[in-house]
């Protein structure tokens, strides 16, 4: 009498494991990459990833197939990060966008043919752009990571950040302008921008 229910449980568990391996595990690297950029260190990223997958496994039955496994895992990671990590490490992260905008307006070129708009003129050392991105305030950094590094759609980002799509668009637009200002400053400070006009 006992053998039958036990075998049912084992079979359920096996099915759960198989499903989890098939649907969740393939997203490990993408979630780790995100965790690394958000927490800023490999040890914290590893811990956040482990906790995310622990929760995902636990709540596997609640996976909403309509939003898809990847978006669901990102949502769990966001909640884990905000509930455990973010509260304890939250810095002001406030940014005066008006100041950035003024700086942007003063730095932006007057024509689309300007050399500072050409990608081939930037000589960025490895990891430098990653560092520059990490200096962005959280709300702006997150949309850059999700869109420009991980390639998520505006819909997915809106779901993840829990804001309307218009806000995603606006934050991305402003985040890239902030990055442009910082890139240009970095390039000027370190002589990493080729100005063809100054070359003999």
């Amino acid at each position: 009498m006992l053998a039958f229910p036990l075998s049912v449980i084992t079979s359920e568990e096996r099915k759960l494991n198989e499903e989890f391996q098939l649907k969740a595990i393939p997203h490990l690297d993408e979630l780790y990459d995100f965790a690394y950029r958000v927490t800023g260190s490999s040890s914290n990223a590893g811990a956040l990833l482990i906790e995310t997958f622990r929760r995902a496994y636990w709540f596997w039955a609640k996976l909403d197939e309509r939003i898809g496994c990847k978006a669901w895992l990102f949502r769990i990671m966001r909640n884990t990060y905000t509930s455990i990590y973010w509260k304890k490490t939250k810095k002001s992260g406030e940014v005066n966008y008006e100041d950035i905008l003024k700086l942007y307006e003063s730095l932006k070129p007057s024509s689309t043919g300007d050399y500072i708009l050409k990608i081939e003129n930037y000589n960025l050392p490895e990891n430098e752009l990653t560092k520059i991105i990490s200096t962005l305030p959280y709300d702006f950094r997150i949309v850059i990571i999700l869109k420009d590094i991980l390639g998520h759609s505006y819909d997915d980002i809106a779901d993840f950040v829990d804001v309307p799509i218009g806000t995603v668009r606006s934050r991305l637009y402003r985040a890239r302008k902030m990055l442009f200002v910082r890139l240009k400053k970095y390039a000027a400070d370190n002589d990493n921008l080729n100005n063809p006009e100054t070359k003999i």
Binding site: I9, L28, S43, G46, I84, S110, T112, I119, L129, S153
Partner: protein, 277 residues
Amino acid sequence: MTEIKKDYTAAFVDEEIKDDLIKEVKQKIETENDFAIDYKVQLLVKNLIKENVIKYETPNKVRKKILKRTNSGLDVYKKSNKPRSYIFEKPAFAFATALVIVFAIALILMNRVGFVEEKDFDMEQTGENNLFVQAQNNFNMIIQGKLDLQIKTSDTKEVLKFFQDKVINYSTIIPDIPQMILSGAFISEENGERFAHLVYAGKNNELAYLYQVDESYLYDSQIITLTNDFIKYLDEMNCYSKVTENHVTLLTKIESNICAIVSNGNSDTIENYFCSQ
């Protein structure tokens, strides 16, 4: 009619504009200089990120840990696929079930991954015999030129022979640290026991220093020390790193050696390398 604001240039770059607006946004970019420049800036930044940003892969240790947990039939977090309400359908079991749930929640809280708490490990490491303290002191002495290499070579075989000749009583590891070249090695002596130290240098004179001891020295807790919870943390194949303004200090277990690495080089490179072993 939708007003086309400049932030639509971002959506245009990302191909995230609805069909009925594409023409209007494109026309704005083609006819208005401000829109055209914003579009170019958005495109430039997006492409720079695409070309320059390297993707991080899950370290093997973390991957193994997750796979192990999700494969294990003994995991305390394992749950039934049945909805929660089914559990309470049998009143006779309701109280016992509630107790089990309370117990499970207590277990979860106790076992939560402490990625904030781990930051305090370094605060607890004190005393002149402490591995963490010794590693940082030695590194400071190296960069001040107060601690000399006893063998200067980038040849790993020569260094291994040096350790053997100097009677290091445990197997030593000489990793290839990215963007660094082995400069040489030295040994230290504590209560008659000898320990292996390696020094690496990068192109821009940045240094990496590796101090390794067999884990058994830490368990004896006499000659070289670390706090018990720190040893347990490392023994569970976790990697601990502390990044300050000037350098990164990282502790990890490689094979049976507990390794302390201190470097004023790129902390990301050091962390990625040692934490994915």
